[in-house]
Assembly symmetry: C2
Homo-oligomer: 466 residues x 2
């Protein structure tokens, strides 16, 4: 196959079939040439934006017939490069495949098109008297199809699970252009292989998701939150155990912030303030969602007092209003503003067994500073989920030693039995490190799955696996 003829051919064939849904050359918007990762933009052969599932299937068939790679795109908020175009590819964007098709109040489900932004889904659920539990910072831009493809996590995984637990039915286009539809609404369906699981978290490398049946939850009646100061990591673990037992399924978030992170978040990020009166070795944001406005806030307060009486927490501020809850979360969401305050840096999304988190942090900080003089590391994360984020930077260095830092961070993850990606995925950027926390047998099995679903290797090639 020579490159030029089929490439010209593919754009013409796509235009003939899909008309104005196809853009090429300078008509392709700059935003579709990259995602939120640090990779430079790359212009694809064409951008296709079908407005129905059949259009997605048609585009896939045409590309496969021409031997052209397809890169699926959702809201483009991925941080690992999973949605970035590859050389000589057609980008298949779901941005026009939007809208809520149905809410079934008895089954507590929503059927939605894959390009629909997360925030639209959240609002539609709310309007219908339900709660869609997935939430993350990019809610206004990211799409539910992208959330599915990356198995997004976010803030309330401890209570509601990741995207995987929120998906009941799926429609997807396979690599040969077959549209497979299974818009299941039942919590239980064990009739044959649950093939939809393959498409969840595989970053668009096995096919393209077109429609999803989402699981809805009851709307919480109230949200309680406390910001606690603790003396050491043992106290953090004791508080987590106490929260699991005492708050039970009300517990909706357990966010831990190490002091280096806390200092920058509360002193240097605009509009973020420290709700506590003194400094502590650890800070924990505990959130619970209740189903009774009359009972649950008091119950949360009583639980918190018991933690203080047991000397598990040293200090705590309790939210008295929705504004307080938001102010507490601001300390945690401040991470998004760190580019402004610390300048160029690396950021990480790793997983570790809960009990090993602080041992990891101590070793990682020490190793970084010994190998890279002046290097700083800030730790925070969804600890109850085994998910830690890290921001590292060498102050005042325009050129950050990314590769060297990656190496330290990921090798220590391997040593402590963790994962190099808890919720952001692998994409292009983390592929070199995948073998650190996956065995050769696992990688071979993943390759076998890829080969079975995409034998020619045209679906989002080079992402996740080589």
């Amino acid at each position: 196959m020579t490159a030029v003829v089929p490439r010209r051919g593919v754009v013409a064939a796509l235009q003939a079939a899909l008309g104005t849904a196809v853009l090429s050359g300078p008509d392709i918007p700059a935003r579709n040439e990259k995602d939120w990762s640090t990779l430079p933009p790359l212009r694809p052969l064409a951008l296709v934006r079908p407005s129905n599932p059949e259009g997605v299937a048609q585009a896939m068939r045409i590309c496969v017939e021409h031997g052209i790679a397809v890169v699926p795109q959702g809201g483009l908020t991925g941080l690992a490069g999973g949605a970035r175009p590859v050389e000589g590819s057609v980008v298949l964007s779901l941005e026009q495949l939007v809208g809520v098709e149905e809410i079934d109040i008895h089954s507590a489900t929503m059927t939605v098109r894959a390009g629909t932004p997360l925030e639209v889904v959240q609002r539609a659920a709310d309007d219908a008297g339900f709660f869609f539990a997935l939430d993350l910072g990019a809610r206004g831009s990211c799409s539910v199809g992208g959330n599915l493809s990356t198995n997004a996590g976010g803030n309330r995984v401890i209570r509601y699970g990741m995207m995987r637990e929120l998906v009941l039915g799926l429609e997807a286009v396979l690599s040969d252009g077959t549209l497979v539809t299974s818009l299941n609404k039942m919590l239980k369906n064990n009739a044959g292989y649950d093939w939809k699981q393959l498409f969840i978290g595989s970053e668009g490398t096995l096919g393209v998701v077109t429609r999803i049946v989402l699981r809805l939850h009851p709307k919480p009646a109230c949200t309680m939150a406390a910001l606690c100061g603790l003396a050491d990591y043992d106290a953090v673990l004791a508080l987590l155990g106490g929260a699991r037992r005492g708050l039970g399924p009300m517990l909706s978030a357990f966010e831990v912030m190490w002091p280096d992170y806390w200092e920058i978040a509360t002193r240097r990020v605009k509009n973020v303030r420290d709700p506590l009166s003194s400094a502590h070795p650890f800070y924990v944001l505990v959130e619970a969602q209740g189903s009774s406005e009359e009972d649950d806030p008091e119950r949360f307060q009583t639980w918190l007092e018991r933690q203080a009486e047991a000397s598990i927490i040293t200090d705590a501020a309790v939210a008295r209003s929705v504004a307080d809850v938001q102010a507490f979360w601001a300390t945690r969401d401040a991470a998004a503003e760190f580019r402004q305050v610390v300048g160029p840096h690396s950021s990480f999304d790793i997983g570790l067994p809960v009990g090993s988190m602080d041992a990891y942090a101590i070793e990682c900080r020490a190793t970084l500073v010994s190998q890279i003089p002046g290097c700083r590391a800030l730790f925070y994360g969804h600890i109850a989920d085994g998910n830690m984020h890290i921001i590292t930077f060498v102050p005042d260095a325009e050129e950050q030693p990314h590769a060297k830092i990656d190496d330290v961070v990921y090798r220590l993850v391997q040593k402590h039995g963790g994962t190099i990606s808890a919720e952001h995925g692998i994409g292009l950027l983390k592929k070199p490190y995948l073998e650190l926390t996956r065995t050769p047998a696992e990688l071979a099995l993943m390759q076998r799955i890829k080969k079975a679903l995409d034998p020619v290797g045209l679906v989002n090639p080079g992402k996740v696996l080589d």
Copy 2:
């Protein structure tokens, strides 16, 4: 390949490698020749009971080298024939691969060998101050490996999910004898494909599970239950909506029983009594698990009173003790005794959208009686999960018209957008009906997955798919 030589060869080779773990001929216990399905027993070439994962891998390699099919067995409590030996196969039983390897209290996980009985896991969790949420009638006999392979559901899916949601890490032997190990303890791990999902619910047709990391939950402090009488199915749906909103995540079970079922359960099954004073068109067992013995029982009571004030429930009995809770569950568990009271019958495990359940029941009952004079159908199930069970029988007929009944039941499931198996799996018995609720594209995709993981077709052949 002729049959005799390799068969003889395989038993000798297995015995040479695994010694006394291998039994053949009349040494094979009768229990391993069948499962709880209605299929007749069949003696395999050999029974292998390895006591470690390497033994399982070794047995698989030897069988594959000899071109001999392998049938994995757990606790043998499956109802669909998934663990029944096939002609000329070696049975690979996990019954000696037992024991809890580790409980990580901070990650709230248990690492366990696949043959361990569910009840042993539940007790070990309890002893460590945790709760393992999966529960089903066969708890004393079924194994967690079998629970995983069938993606078992049971009574508390609405709150804790099915087995799939309770599995964090997995070790399995592939069809070529490779041992793949990923004993992940993190709730979040998006580093590459989550291959373990393939082994959950595929009924041992893609490989053999050897070790599992289970997710543990906090131990509930108290259990509340009520048995309610309701006037119609709209009231059942209103009560479900009210329970979701009012009890929030405390809601742990919502079991509906239609009156034909109720009458037999409470009047003809030994040691089961009707806690209500009069007859009703619907009976609902609502269960909630609380995290505070002081507050939650009162809260449950208040919630229930509101349902009565809103005329959603006509009558209700509230459990005052653990014995009461058990007595309420006895009305639901009575189903297991129906063979004694109604004689030969068919039983079904179907899924339907929640709103369509009663319409299905009405149509199914009418169609059965019109096509099979005298045929009775009793409906009950985990309605909130979209899961209904049916018991059908023609009174006093020794020979039940199974095929005719199956046909009516499953064709109506198709019509109402349901699934032919909610939690029992497909095995051998339901394979003929799989195409009713799975599309040709889905079945082709399942075949592609089977082919990728088991290219020679030696792992539990003929189960789930042809």
